[in-house]
């Protein structure tokens, strides 16, 4: 290629100091200025370290507590969720661990309950803020994003449950617990205006809606929240995939099909 590209990585997140005897081995790694293995390792919690990686600073106690709660809420959507189902389908056949998690990511990435739904719901928060009229206008005719176009069309208002009747107990419990930790901001507004928003959407609030409000409340960008949602949904997928491999494929549903255009065995004989 004729273009002049550099041959170094540029980062304001990570710095390494090499061992004196080996330029390829790190003797010290600094994350945002903190010595990871010489200082932070025994002092920071996992959530604090994650926050440092993404946001560049240590979280307050409230922020860390809210993130900890979110990580638990997202960790296992359960075997019926498409991402966990996909991971189990990979695991039950004995696919490698990375393939299992790739399956979970692919099926947990979209606009129905996945990372993209959280991203889209957060974009709505950016557009509508805490203005009920803006939300009502948006929810009455949500605009499909014009780009990128390879994502399938969204089929419901992001953050709401297209198959729900009323807001589920677990979504309500998660919202209530988050509001206790973060009493001000988007979460609280969501809890207050939930009936009006659900009326405008015609469907109840979903877990993705609570997660989007929480990440907005915590000053995460939609792209950062999408990443963390994908990441934090993996533990359940991994555990269930390992469980199904141990139980064996004969215990795993194979489902029956109703093939609507079966040419039948006769068709084969005629054609051959």
């Amino acid at each position: 290629m004729s273009d002049n590209f550099g041959e170094v990585f540029h980062s304001h997140i990570w710095e390494e100091k090499a061992e004196p005897d080996n330029p390829f081995t790190a003797a010290a790694c600094y994350c945002r200025g903190y010595d990871v293995y010489g200082d932070l390792l025994s002092k920071a919690t996992y959530i604090e370290y994650l926050y440092l990686l993404f946001k560049g600073e240590r979280p307050t106690q409230e922020v860390a507590a809210a993130l900890q709660l979110l990580a638990i809420a997202l960790a296992n959507p359960g075997p019926r969720d498409p991402s966990v189902h996909a991971a189990m389908a990979a695991g039950v056949g004995g696919s490698p661990a990375a393939s299992v998690l790739m399956a979970a990511l692919a099926s947990g990435a979209g606009s129905y309950g996945g990372g993209r739904e959280v991203l889209l719901a957060m974009q709505a928060w950016i557009d509508c803020g805490t203005n009920l009229e803006n939300w009502q206008r948006y929810l009455s005719s949500p605009q499909a994003p014009s780009r990128p176009l390879f994502w399938p069309q969204t089929e419901h208002a992001p953050g709401f449950d297209p198959h729900g009747v009323t807001c589920s107990t677990i979504v309500t419990q998660t919202l209530q617990q988050l509001c206790r930790i973060l009493p001000d901001g988007q979460l609280n507004w969501l809890a207050k205006e939930q009936p009006a928003l659900e009326k405008a959407a015609g469907i109840p609030l979903a877990m993705t809606g609570v997660v989007a409000a929480a990440f907005t409340n915590l000053d995460f960008s939609p792209a950062e929240a999408e990443m963390l949602t994908l990441l934090w949904r993996l533990p359940g997928a991994a555990a269930h995939a390992l469980e199904q491999w141990q139980r064996g494929f004969r215990q795993f549903p194979f489902f029956s099909l109703d093939l609507e255009n079966d040419p039948g065995v006769t068709g084969l004989k005629e054609k051959t």
Binding site: M1, H163, L259
Partner: protein, 269 residues
């Protein structure tokens, strides 16, 4: 019908028209017996049928396959190929490297995103110009909504003619596949866009690889799916050569090749 009522109607045996296997007996593929109907078929014939439900002519398939051939670049520096190479360097599996590299190929600056975006634009632009609007007006309006017209101006070698375009035109001529309305418009957009932008923005291969199948009746989604395997042949050598090198020895980086520009050292206490 709303809420759980929709889901209730989908309980029980799953209705499908795409197919099913009957182990020990036969497999149905979109309403046809796979082993009878496609006994002598090329793989690309079945692949295109899987997407469109249509059988294309052999010369059309040859052009579509040619596009895959001409864009298979075994250069491990290319971002998607590098994913396959890194999987090899770390001694990951071929499926993991290739799967991740294919997913990587739906990038914003190359691959699937520019392709589907320019496909969508060309369909709209063709409809409007056929209805009498000027192409310049259509382009100006598009640039008013989006800053860039994807499919024009390559991220590397921006001003050069994409080397895959002339060879594809040669293949089309050789096979007797005529330039259709979408491809003709794609070239016309290149000319008008350069005038509007005041600088050359040559058409990239993205515009060509969707124009040709759209002239064969593909939708943008069908173009997107048709292009999924297009880079694989270039990725595999990158993975294999990384396996041949010592582990970790592909694109070797010393610690000091990380240029840090973040906060100064500080203590957690």
């Amino acid at each position: 019908m709303s809420g759980p009522d929709i889901l209730k109607t989908f309980e029980g045996p799953m209705r499908t028209k795409v197919g099913a296997c009957f182990p020990g007996e036969r497999t149905v593929f979109r309403g046809y017996d796979l082993h009878a109907e496609f006994k002598h078929a090329e793989w690309i014939d079945l692949y295109i049928f899987s997407i469109t439900g249509r059988r294309l002519t052999p010369i059309q398939l040859k052009v579509l396959q040619g596009i895959w051939v001409y864009t298979s670049y075994p250069d491990p520096r290319l971002w998607n190929n590098r994913v396959a190479a890194m999987a090899g360097s770390a001694r990951g599996t071929g499926a993991q490297g290739l799967g991740a590299a294919i997913a990587t190929s739906e990038a914003a600056i190359y691959g699937r995103q520019p392709e589907i975006t320019v496909a969508d634009f060309l369909i709209r632009a063709l409809k409007r110009t056929e209805a009498g609007e000027s192409l310049e007006q259509v382009i100006r309006q598009e640039l008013g909504i989006h800053k860039r017209l994807l499919g024009y101006g390559r991220p590397v070698a921006t001003l050069d003619v994409d080397e895959r375009i002339p060879v594809t035109l040669d293949l089309m001529q050789h096979e007797g596949v005529e330039i259709g309305p979408h491809l003709k418009l794609a070239f016309e957009v290149e000319r008008v866009l350069s005038e509007v932008a005041g600088r050359p923005l040559p058409m990239t291969y993205s515009a060509m690889v969707v124009s040709i199948p759209m002239d064969m009746g593909f939708s943008p989604l069908e173009c997107y799916l048709y292009m999924q395997p297009c880079f694989i042949a270039g990725m595999i050598p990158c993975y294999l050569e990384a396996l041949e090198r010592p582990e970790g020895a592909t694109f070797v980086m010393r610690c000091d090749r990380l240029e840090y520009d973040g906060p100064a050292h500080r203590s957690w206490d």
